[in-house]
């Protein structure tokens, strides 16, 4: 990915954007009375335009505040893997289909490949690395280990994050609900049967 020439600006202010972009002031002026109120002067300090030069972003990864400077086009997945060395989330299809990049953003399971890093500003990001404290595994990967629910293991971080998010949302989730929770993940090795055994153990444990 080529880096454009640095402008030395991480983000420009709304005022700077309105002056610099050549936007016709008349557009704002033609807002009719039925439209929402025109631009709120009190929000003038809030920057709303970022890039195209790299932008400094701050969010939390597995409880640790981090900063990263990336172009607006960089996905959360690439920011985590390539800029922050958080490689638990895997880049497989990069098209929001396979689930290997699944992370939790403010508790919800999402595809990190389909979210711009800039959209994650200020958010709480959890990756598969968060499912171990030293040698102690979280219940979800522990069940995967017991049931041998992986072969090559490349899809595993996505599966365990999707299951963790479902159990965080509803600790009493049923087998059917947990199977639905991993419906957006694909295992090319086909270890689904072992995963079903792991899910059965998780339901008994947490239910």
């Amino acid at each position: 990915m080529s880096q454009p020439k640095q402008t030395g600006r991480d983000g420009i202010t709304r005022r700077g954007f309105l002056t610099g972009s050549g936007l016709a002031a008349a557009t704002v002026g033609t807002l009719s009375s039925t439209a929402p109120a025109a631009l709120d002067p009190s929000s003038a300090a809030t920057p709303i335009a970022f890039g195209p030069a790299p932008v400094r972003l701050a969010f939390t990864v597995n409880g640790r505040p981090v900063q990263v400077q990336v172009e607006p086009r960089v996905t959360l997945l690439d920011a985590l893997r390539n800029y922050l060395d958080v490689t638990g989330c895997k880049r497989v299809c990069d098209r929001g289909t396979c689930g290997a990049c699944t992370v939790q953003v403010d508790g919800r399971a999402v595809y990190a490949c389909t979210l711009l890093a800039i959209e994650a500003r200020g958010k709480d990001i959890r990756t598969a690395e968060n499912l171990a404290q030293g040698d102690t595994l979280d219940a979800v990967p522990a069940a995967f280990v017991r049931c041998d629910a992986q072969q090559c293991g490349f899809c595993t971080p996505g599966f365990v994050m999707a299951l963790r998010a479902a159990l965080d949302k509803n600790p009493r989730a049923t087998v059917a609900e947990l199977e639905q929770a991993v419906a957006g993940n694909i295992c090319r090795c086909g270890t689904y049967e072992q995963m079903r055994q792991a899910i059965a153990q998780l339901v008994r444990k947490e239910g």
Partner: protein, 342 residues
């Protein structure tokens, strides 16, 4: 993907001046599940992306107002996520909508995707999505699906130079329920019946919806107006190749009022999804059911009427009987029949 300037307005009023009066240089971003794919494939190469994710308030909320003797009037902000539609207690009277939302793609997509994105996404034709193919919608001279690989394309093809299927699974139930769309632009607010928000595109300056490039979909409102004393019946039924994480091959959404006593169906609306370039109201099917008691036989007659106009392409004739079954099953589900087909 190409790089761009990213804008994150805090309100709809702040977002409007960022749009242009032509398509191409600006794209709106909500859940991103459609847009990021298009950016990565260079199908869309905007210079600016206007994110709607920081806009709070009604744009991101579901609100309900009770109506005397009627189901509630529910307004769903365009920024509401699919998972929150599927799980909304306020939308419980509208299972056609909640079950359709619950079946879209997989959980991650439902956690990201929004109502507005479902209604305004671009089509999924593989010729359109292929960077290297100049189809009609990208300024080329022909629609490659007519003579090419068209097993997932439209079966209602008459008069359509481009034979995409409309990709929204929420549009058919919303249209069946008589929903209206609230739209804002620099020229003010406007409201229109949701079925009028869609069109069959055939050139680059047309999208699958009728919003102008400088307009933003604010919300969609469901407010049934049933004959006095009747109760609302509604359902959506879809057939997919895979159980989950797949696009429907066909979808039928139905809504009607049931008279007390006689049990006759009134104000029938039947909408077909994923079979035409737009969500397709079927007045022919509705007419067959209007004033009748829902039985296996009357549902089958309505379903037969729904497929009368179908003109499938070389590879998708299989969709016709599939659609017939979907319409029949949606009617039976709406009327409270227990499904005996699964």
């Amino acid at each position: 993907m190409n790089n761009f300037t990213y804008y994150q307005p805090q309100s709809v009023a702040q977002a409007l001046p960022l749009l242009e009066n032509r398509w191409g240089r600006v794209e709106l971003l909500a859940g991103g599940t459609d847009l990021l794919d298009r950016l990565k494939e260079y199908v869309s190469t905007p210079e600016r992306i206007v994110s709607l994710t920081a806009i709070e308030g009604p744009f991101r909320e579901i609100s309900a107002i009770p109506q005397a003797g009627q189901p509630p009037k529910v307004t769903i902000g365009a920024g509401v996520r699919l998972v929150d539609i599927a799980e909304s207690k306020l939308l419980a009277p509208y299972p056609a909508l909640t079950t359709a939302a619950a079946q879209i793609a997989g959980p991650q997509i439902r956690n990201m995707g929004t109502l507005g994105g479902s209604l305004c996404q671009r089509n999924r034709c593989w010729y359109f999505r292929d960077t290297h193919i100049q189809c009609l919608l990208k300024g080329g001279r022909k629609c490659y699906a007519h003579e090419g690989e068209n097993q997932f394309h439209a079966i209602f093809t008459q008069g359509h130079p481009c034979v995409i299927v409309h990709p929204s699974t929420l549009a058919p139930p919303l249209i069946a329920l008589g929903a209206t769309a609230q739209i804002v632009s620099p020229r003010g607010n406007r409201e229109l019946p949701l079925e009028k928000m869609f069109q069959a595109p055939s050139k680059p300056d047309q999208r699958e919806h009728t919003l102008a490039p400088d307009e933003i979909l604010l919300s969609v409102t469901v407010a049934p107006n049933l004959p006095p004393g009747t109760r609302l019946a509604n359902a959506s039924y879809e057939v997919k190749q895979k159980v989950t994480s797949d696009w429907p091959l066909v979808q039928a959404a139905v809504a009607f009022a049931i008279e007390p006593g006689s049990q006759r169906a009134r104000n029938v609306r039947i909408v077909l999804g994923h079979v035409a370039p737009t969500p397709l109201l079927s007045p022919e099917a509705a007419q067959e059911l209007e004033g009748k008691v829902v039985t296996e036989a009357t549902a089958a007659t309505a379903a037969a009427a729904a497929i009368q106009g179908a003109r499938p392409l070389s590879q998708n004739g299989y969709k016709v009987p599939m659609l017939k079954a979907a319409v029949k099953r949606a009617i039976l589900l709406a009327a409270g029949f227990k499904p005996d087909w699964e």
